[in-house]
């Protein structure tokens, strides 16, 4: 009772004074017992008057009595110093026993500082505003509903509250303030869905209170919110679905969205670094595409980008113009001299900082494993001492032209029978050129090679044993070959040769032949080829792993180049020969780029797959056959922070069969504490001495860089099953806390005075009528 009263009284115990309301009644009763006695002569008139007035007198006495009781009641009430909550407050603070859950968005966009108002403007970050909002809520709760509890969560750690205060005492307020002081923004992106899901789960299991108010304090970026919307699960639509599911029928959960975002804040960010090719080879230029987004409302001019690789700053590059809301993709060409671990570090420099609210997303790093070369093994199916009769001479020359320029490809040629003896693991690409048959053992070896990420290129030729090929290489779709071979097709005599009629120009292998260069490819004459049994063009091939990249112009539109993904590697099947026996491709200009690109394409990618976003888990493969399982990790803060020692877990390679798995276990080290963006370095100790370095990078979530907030209407309609309150201006929250309760004891006293006058007036009037 008293605790309930405390919701609107300063001194709840004072309300006990309301018991004094009995006093006028007592006085009335007692006064009836005390009277003077008068022996009266004119009794008849008195009795007459009494008879006529009895009812009125009683009524008047009752009125006066009620009035006096009311006065005492009001007086007691006034002494209890009552207050009422302002309208906003009333909507925020529920009834008794409410659990207040505050979720503070600590994603990096919250560090935004509006720079548009430079001169003496608001230098507070969104996160500071958010903290102030949390304090305001704490104050609101403390002042209005003492029996409630507060839990504070940050979005990056939704599994456990930062603070869980049972009540709202001064001590708890201090704890809240202290807890807030320790908080700062993380470098993560926003993850509303995960946070709300986790908190809902905890609420469902732990809460003992009837009602819950969930306060989400954030800049409510459109991108975050939309992503959360997309991930909405069971329990209705919208990002608040997990809460809505908790709400149930009782309507006991409410949601208050406090928008502390800087509406005017613009931002510029490096949002992506993409490599044109999966390969970076030492000495060969690697092209990257750097994406720079302009999320402000003004066009950006002459954006300067600082570019760095290991040990070297490259000359800065300048982007001429980025229109508002646009993302510029700029190519950056880097040549790594050395093979091994390297990276590309791109950072916005200097310019346009007045448009940039968030600094974290101005830098982005891509880790790169630079390969010494693309080691290619060519299996020659028709070797000959005559270079021009040799099956692979032209191919070999095309892959590794003579002269100073390096193609980045190293070629080793073996004959058909020697496959068994070669250690394939040191190669990235294997080319089978006009190989008549692949022995079963060699076939297994190749499968393991491709499965672990290697590339296989199969050229056709007159020696290929079709039946054997279909049996071992195709193996009913389980093998390396994309499609079975139907037989050898030759161009009809006298007629025009078969040509390459159609191809997928977007495919990396044929990328060069788009536009005017396409004619080069059309001029290639093909006299014979292996006709593969293929689905007719246009038919759905998604069920098969074979992808036709190019077709001939024969009656069947036979596939000429077909790709198949196999494990982590891939196979490219080319139906015609590598030499000029079946075609004149090698004398065409298109031959050289085609074989080079194809080799690059199928080669085991060397760009790192280890780059993650902040908060995600870094992984690094550890081959227990090569390196020790104990791995050292240097974080970006090294050498200030010490090295971290990690141990590799063994895991079977994905997609492989059990037998292969047993022989080639691949380990992995994982590191989950990627709170800070930057370059991480793994040091792997070789079994036979020496160290392998691997870079990995942790980058900010690029979607977080778009600060534009979700529309208030969107927020308001965030759930169809939940009461959602949106507070756009955090100042109103602070004001609500300050003006949270308005005392009105003095009007009560005025009322008491007024009622006393009324009482006197009535008493006089009742007594002196007539």
């Amino acid at each position: 009772m008293i605790s309930w009263l405390s919701g609107f009284l300063f001194n709840p115990w004072m309300a006990a004074g309301a018991g004094a309301v009995a006093s006028p009644i007592l006085i009335h009763i007692l006064s009836r017992r005390r009277y003077q006695r008068v022996r009266w002569a004119a009794m008849d008139f008195l009795l007459d008057a009494h008879r006529r007035n009895r009812r009125r007198v009683r009524l008047e006495q009752l009125i006066l009595l009620a009035l006096r009781c009311l006065i005492v009641l009001l007086l007691a009430f006034a002494f209890a110093r009552p207050f009422f909550s302002s309208g906003l407050l009333a909507s925020l603070v529920g009834g008794s026993q409410t659990e207040h859950i505050i979720i503070l968005d600590d994603s990096y966009s919250m560090s935004a500082v509006s720079r548009a108002t430079s001169a003496g403007g608001d230098r507070q970050s969104s996160f500071d505003s958010g903290k102030a909002a949390v304090e305001a809520i704490g104050r609101l709760v403390a002042e209005t509903s003492a029996g409630d509890s507060i839990s504070l969560y940050v979005m990056s750690r939704p599994d456990e509250p930062i603070l869980s205060a049972p009540g709202a005492s001064d001590e708890d307020r201090v704890r809240l303030t202290e807890a807030l002081a320790t908080l700062s923004t993380t470098e993560r992106g926003g993850a509303w869905d995960a946070a709300l899901r986790s908190i809902s789960r905890q609420l469902a299991t732990t809460t003992s209170r009837a009602n819950a108010v969930v306060y989400a304090i954030s800049d409510f970026q459109r991108s975050d919110w939309r992503r959360a919307e997309g991930e909405a699960g069971t329990g209705g639509k919208g990002p608040l679905a997990p809460l809505a599911a908790l709400n149930g029928e009782k309507d006991s959960v409410r949601c208050v969205l406090v928008n502390v975002g800087k509406a005017s804040a613009g931002n510029i960010a490096v949002t992506a670094i993409g490599a044109d090719r999966p390969q970076s080879v030492a000495g060969v230029p690697t092209r990257f595409q750097v994406s720079v987004a302009n999320y402000s409302s003004t066009p950006l001019r002459d954006v300067e980008l600082g570019v760095g690789i290991e040990g070297r700053r490259l000359p800065p590059m300048v982007i001429r113009e980025i229109m508002p809301g646009e993302t510029a993709r700029e190519p950056v060409e880097v040549t790594y001299e050395q093979d091994g671990a390297n990276y590309l570090d791109v950072e916005l420099v200097g310019a346009a900082s007045n448009l940039d609210s968030v600094g974290l997303d101005n830098r982005r790093i891509a880790s790169v494993d630079v390969a010494p070369a693309i080691r290619t093994l060519i299996v020659d199916g028709e070797p000959s001492s005559d270079q021009y009769r040799d099956e692979v001479f032209l191919l070999k020359t095309a892959l590794r032209p003579a002269g100073r320029a390096t193609s980045g490809v190293e070629v080793t040629v073996v004959e058909e029978g020697e496959i068994d003896e070669v250690d394939l693991s040191s190669f990235q690409v294997v080319v089978l050129a006009n190989v008549s048959r692949v022995q079963r053992a060699a076939n297994d070896k190749l499968r393991a090679f491709v499965d672990s990420g290697g590339g296989l290129i199969i050229f056709g030729g007159d020696l290929v044993d079709v039946a054997e090929f279909n049996a071992t290489m195709y193996d009913d779709g389980r093998g390396l070959a994309p499609l079975p071979i139907a037989g050898v097709a030759e161009a009809p005599a006298g007629a025009d040769a078969v040509a390459i009629a159609s191809w997928d120009a977007s495919h990396p292998t044929l990328q060069a032949f788009d536009g005017p260069t396409a004619d080069l490819l059309r001029q290639v004459r093909i006299d014979a080829y292996l006709r593969v049994e293929s689905p007719p063009p246009g038919e759905d091939t998604s069920s098969s792993t074979a992808v036709v990249i190019a077709r001939t112009n024969d009656a069947f539109q036979s596939p000429l180049i077909v790709e198949k993904a196999f494990g982590r590697g891939r196979t490219i099947f080319i139906a015609t020969s590598a030499d000029q026996e079946w075609n004149d491709w090698a004398s065409n200009f298109s031959y050289l780029p085609f074989v080079l690109e194809t080799t690059q394409y199928v080669a085991r990618p060397t760009t790192s797959q280890r780059d993650v976003l902040a908060g995600e888990t870094l992984r690094c493969e550890v081959d227990p056959h090569v390196v020790e399982p104990a791995v050292v990790l240097r974080t970006p803060a090294y050498p200030t922070d010490p090295e971290i020692r990690l141990n590799a877990d063994e895991r079977p390679p994905p997609g492989g069969d059990a037998r292969a798995a047993a022989s080639s276990l691949i380990g992995e080290v994982r590191f989950g504490d990627t709170e800070h963006c930057g370059r991480y370095e793994f040091l792997l100790k070789r079994l036979n001495g020496g160290t392998i370095r691997r870079f990995a990078s942790v980058n900010p979530d690029p979607t977080e860089a778009d600060l534009s907030p979700a529309a208030t209407e969107t927020l308001r309609g965030a759930s169809d099953r939940l009461r959602v309150e949106v507070i756009d201006d955090p100042a109103t929250l602070a004001n609500a806390a300050d003006r949270g309760r308005t005392e009105f004891w003095w009007p009560l006293l005025l009322m008491v005075a007024a009622m006393m006058m009324v009482e006197q007036g009535l008493a006089w009037r009742f007594g002196s009528r007539g």
């Binding site: 006064s31 009836r32 005390r34 009277y35 003077q36 006695r37 008068v38 022996r39 009266w40 002569a41 004119a42 009794m43 008849d44 008139f45 008195l46 009795l47 007459d48 008057a49 009494h50 006529r52 007035n53 007198v57 008047e60 006495q61 009742f766 007594g767 002196s768 009528r769 007539g770």
Partner: protein
């Protein structure tokens, strides 16, 4: 001197004087001193004879013309003619005792006031050579004296008044008609009472007396409390005449209704009196007594004029 005499018209001063005769004397003297004309003279006095002056005779009655002619002192002697008889009818019922129990020295009870008025009238009349008689009644006639005009009779009246005991309730139904029956010669009747009884009995009786040719003055004597009802606190009212009648009330709440009832009662009587050409004097024990005396004199003047 005149003021000194007049101050005894005030009841609160009279209350301090125990002796009724003294009280009456003071009242009348005070009253007379305030008048321009002495009420004792020029009133129906007829010359009878001269008599030689002897020491002790009233010098006022010296006949100066005879003295001028004969150098002898002669006293004019008048025929003593009593042309007015006043029956003072005084109510001595229990109700007249109010506010006896309140124990206040400075207040006269209604009866004391009434008795003072009666004695004053008797005093005045005796000195005017009129005859004053007395009937004291409650539920029956308690004392009676025929109207006579002598100093000795005045003393008798005062004694009767002082001996009155207020012990019985009133019963106007029984006594009033009886009193009416006692009045034979044309005379004046002064009824001094609180009139706390039934109008239906009182008015016919008064009318009957009036029709019998008597001049009537009604002194409606009520206590100041009864006229103003000044009580504030809770009060238990107990009937003076019927102690079993008790009510505990908040007097303020009843005041207006009570006054209304009282006023209605008095208005009824006053109207009846007016119709019958009866002098009605409303008195409060707080009123100075000259009010009553003046009213009596006015009535007497009418009587004289009517007689003439």
């Amino acid at each position: 001197m005149a003021n000194d005499a007049r101050k005894y018209l005030k009841p609160e001063l009279l209350a301090r004087i125990g002796d009724l005769e003294m009280r009456a004397r003071l009242v009348v003297e005070g009253f007379v001193s305030g008048m321009h004309r002495s009420p004792y003279h020029g009133v129906s006095v007829e010359f009878a004879q001269h008599k030689e002056y002897v020491a002790g005779d009233d010098l006022r009655h010296l006949d100066w013309r005879v003295f001028g002619r004969s150098d002898r002192f002669y006293i004019k002697q008048y025929e003593e003619e009593t042309n007015l008889r006043l029956h003072i009818v005084l109510d001595s019922s229990l109700s007249m005792r109010y506010p006896e129990h309140l124990d206040r020295d400075d207040r006269l009870t209604k009866f004391e006031y009434a008795a003072t008025l009666a004695a004053s009238l008797a005093f005045l009349l005796t000195h005017q050579q009129d005859a004053a008689g007395l009937i004291i009644f409650d539920d029956e006639i308690r004392a009676e004296a025929p109207p006579l005009s002598s100093q000795g009779h005045l003393r008798l009246l005062v004694e009767r008044l002082e001996r009155a005991r207020l012990e019985r309730a009133n019963d106007p139904r029984a006594t009033l008609p009886h009193i009416a029956g006692r009045l034979h010669r044309r005379s004046m009747v002064a009824l001094i009472s609180d009139l706390l009884f039934d109008v239906d009995v009182l008015i016919p009786t008064l009318e009957r007396i009036r029709h019998a040719g008597h001049e009537v003055v009604v002194f409606h004597t009520l206590d100041h409390d009864e006229r103003t009802f000044p009580f504030a606190n809770n009060t238990l009212f107990e009937g003076l005449e019927a102690p079993d009648q008790q009510i505990l009330v908040d007097p303020q709440a009843l005041r207006s209704a009570y006054l209304e009832a009282l006023s209605a009662h008095e208005t009824a009587i006053r109207r009846a009196c007016s119709n019958s050409r009866i002098e009605f004097v409303s008195l409060s024990t707080a009123d100075p007594l000259d009010v009553a005396l003046r009213a009596y004199l006015a009535a007497r003047m009418r009587q004289v004029k009517a007689g003439a």
